[in-house]
Symmetry: C2
Subunit: 362 residues, 2 copies
DNA sequence: TTTAGCACTCAGAACGGTCAAGTGCTAATC
DNA sequence: GATTAGCACTTGACCGTTCTGAGTGCTAAA
């Protein structure tokens, strides 16, 4: 699909014209005509010449004509070429930068909270729908167990999973005395740390029951709870913000398209799969234009996102979804700045309460 | 507004006609004419007679005419009368009931998770946009603190707040030895349990610092973290599911209305305030039609919801939002069944891991 | 009190004509 | 050979008109 990299059939004037067309179409949303382009100071030739060039650009597949007597609009290949070759860097304004810094300043504790702030900010700064992804994880395990008794028959199981704390309630018919809780915590820490759900086998369970002696009735329900937690945890997560912003763009005035899009936002699994897959490799801003997106629904939309890393490992991604006719410069710059801020906030050495936590067992 | 309760100016035939009009309009979404109503076996008179009755109903404020030569549609008062007096009870089908039961069967641990399941189900069963509310709480306090050390400078603060566990990371420049953690936990439990954010005063802070001796540097950041948690916690929460379903109804074909509606879904504070306020009182299904909703945006929408209680206390609400022209019978029945299921799941005595937890301190 | 009949109203579809934007092509020009 | 001016052609958007059908309100008869 990405045929355009270094296409040397394009002379400078063609590039200029293509860029002008994409810019204009992004700005107005309407097909761009040859006459309009003559207003552009940089293109010093008549409308007729431009028409000839446009005809060639169309033949090459970079432009399209909605109907005979309309102007041209960029094709997907045109957008792709634009993004890869023609775009000039947009530098965030001082205002925008300081808003990004605000993410840092808030000193929130959890990865979750930071991502939430970031995605809200992304929606506001770009004025498109923003999304954040927590990718599906493969090897999830608990690195530390703790038990907190609440009353004679109730306790809370506290699990440390990759720097995130999860809790689960345990209720029992029979009393759970303090020493049972201690024993249980000991057994969990001794036998289940570092194991994924699949690796928890019957023999392990039986050995734990032996370790607990008269309190062996606790093992089965508790281990079940652990497995549930691990499974939920590796499920991945997808959040949206600013869905209503889509409506501001005439590109989504078609009710059917809009409905499909909104349905996509709710049926998160599909998108999650795509993103989890794509997010792994690259650590640059990624741009998927139109049909490049595997999801059919997104034919006329572009997805731009970038992974967020913590200690060099990807822990999620932040992105923006919008019409193919999107302000790429701004969006790319914004996403870049934002993920940088978030990554800083997550990895910063002296930043209290970052959610960054070592994995070892004390 | 609710002028209609027991309006005895309406003879039986008028009621029959009003009901038929509302039913038909709910089904088709179009104005209902006199001729169409003659098809209804229960109304045994000619179209002319019906026209006369309709004219009177319009004069009384129960019907409206979009334009001279169109049929009639119910006014808000008409819908109100219909909901209050004319509606007949819809009983959920066996299928629907068994789907509701599935909520129970899943035995999820957290209030949050149950509510999430419920709201998804509400959207699916009614085919409208569903919402769940966790109302703004007033007196939030921590009933129990625990500290879990992770390494020499990092620990997790675990707080039990009204049966829900919240965690917060603590990082420090200086090492936090085990005995400091114990001391800190002791001080927190001794001085901060039961206090709201406002009630934590300087003298309390100072006394805690005295209790901690050489580790007094921990007090200020930790207490700050506690306050933050409490504040976030009492913020209330609002979730939506099935936003795309709105688009299925021609009532939302107007882009501007739709955009406003979606904006409302994102600017949650407004709605949250309304719901938190309204949810307090009644424990029946509540129906707000059109302008009865304080929020202007919802002029042509109806909001139906019911509180969910846990041990008799309201802990949230589940509801549905949709066009005024909504299938009230089904929706009301579904919400009723659903909240009952959730309330059962939350309050059930032997149901392991319900999130229901006593508040005392062991 | 009910009903048949009829004139009237009005939104929406269908039609046709005009307009402006923009193209492709050709012939003239640099 | 590249560029440009000029012109015929295409086409969607816009606008006013007409037509149609649904539905009403009113009147007079049953």
């Amino acid at each position: 699909m990405r045929l355009s990299r270094g296409d040397n059939r394009l002379n400078e004037r063609k590039k200029l014209i293509l860029k002008a067309i994409v810019d204009a179409h992004i700005a107005n949303g309407e097909p761009v005509g040859s006459k309009y382009l003559t207003l552009n100071k940089q293109i010093a030739c008549s409308s007729a010449t431009i028409r000839n060039e446009m005809a060639e650009l169309e033949e090459m597949g970079y432009l399209e004509q909605p109907h005979t007597s309309a102007g041209r609009i960029p094709s997907e290949a045109g957008y792709r070429f634009y993004v890869d070759q023609l775009i000039d860097r947009y530098n965030l304004t001082q205002n925008e930068i300081s808003e990004l810094k605000a993410v840092l300043r808030q000193r929130q504790n959890e990865l979750d909270a930071i991502m939430q702030t970031a995605v809200t900010l992304a929606a506001r700064l770009t004025n498109y729908t923003a999304l954040s992804v927590k990718p599906r994880q493969t090897r999830i395990s608990v690195s530390r167990f703790e038990i907190m008794r609440l009353d004679s028959t109730t306790a809370v199981l506290i699990m440390l999973i990759g720097g995130i704390v999860k809790t689960k309630y345990i209720r029992s018919d029979r009393p759970i005395p303090q020493d049972a809780a201690m024993l249980l915590a000991g057994a969990l820490n001794a036998r289940l740390t570092g194991l994924t759900a699949d690796e928890i086998t019957m023999p392990i369970l039986m050995e734990m029951e032996r370790m607990l002696g008269e309190y062996d009735f606790l093992v089965s329900p508790v281990v079940k709870a652990v497995c549930e937690t691990i499974s939920v945890f590796d499920g991945g997560e997808l959040r949206f913000e600013g869905i209503n912003r889509l409506l501001a763009y005439p590109d989504y005035y078609d009710m059917d398209r809009l409905r499909e899009m909104l349905a996509l936002f709710e049926k998160k699994e599909t998108l999650l799969e795509v993103l989890s897959e794509e997010a792994k490799g690259d650590d640059r801003v990624q741009v998927f234009i139109g049909r490049e997106n595997v999801v059919k629904v997104m034919d006329n939309s572009t997805l731009i996102f970038k992974t967020v890393t913590q200690n060099g490992k990807p822990v999620g991604a932040i992105g923006v979804i919008g019409p193919t006719r999107m302000d790429y410069r701004r969006v790319i710059a914004t996403i870049e700045g934002l993920t940088k801020s978030v990554t800083d906030a997550l990895g910063g050495p002296k930043d209290e309460g970052t959610g960054r936590l070592p994995d070892h067992k004390d």
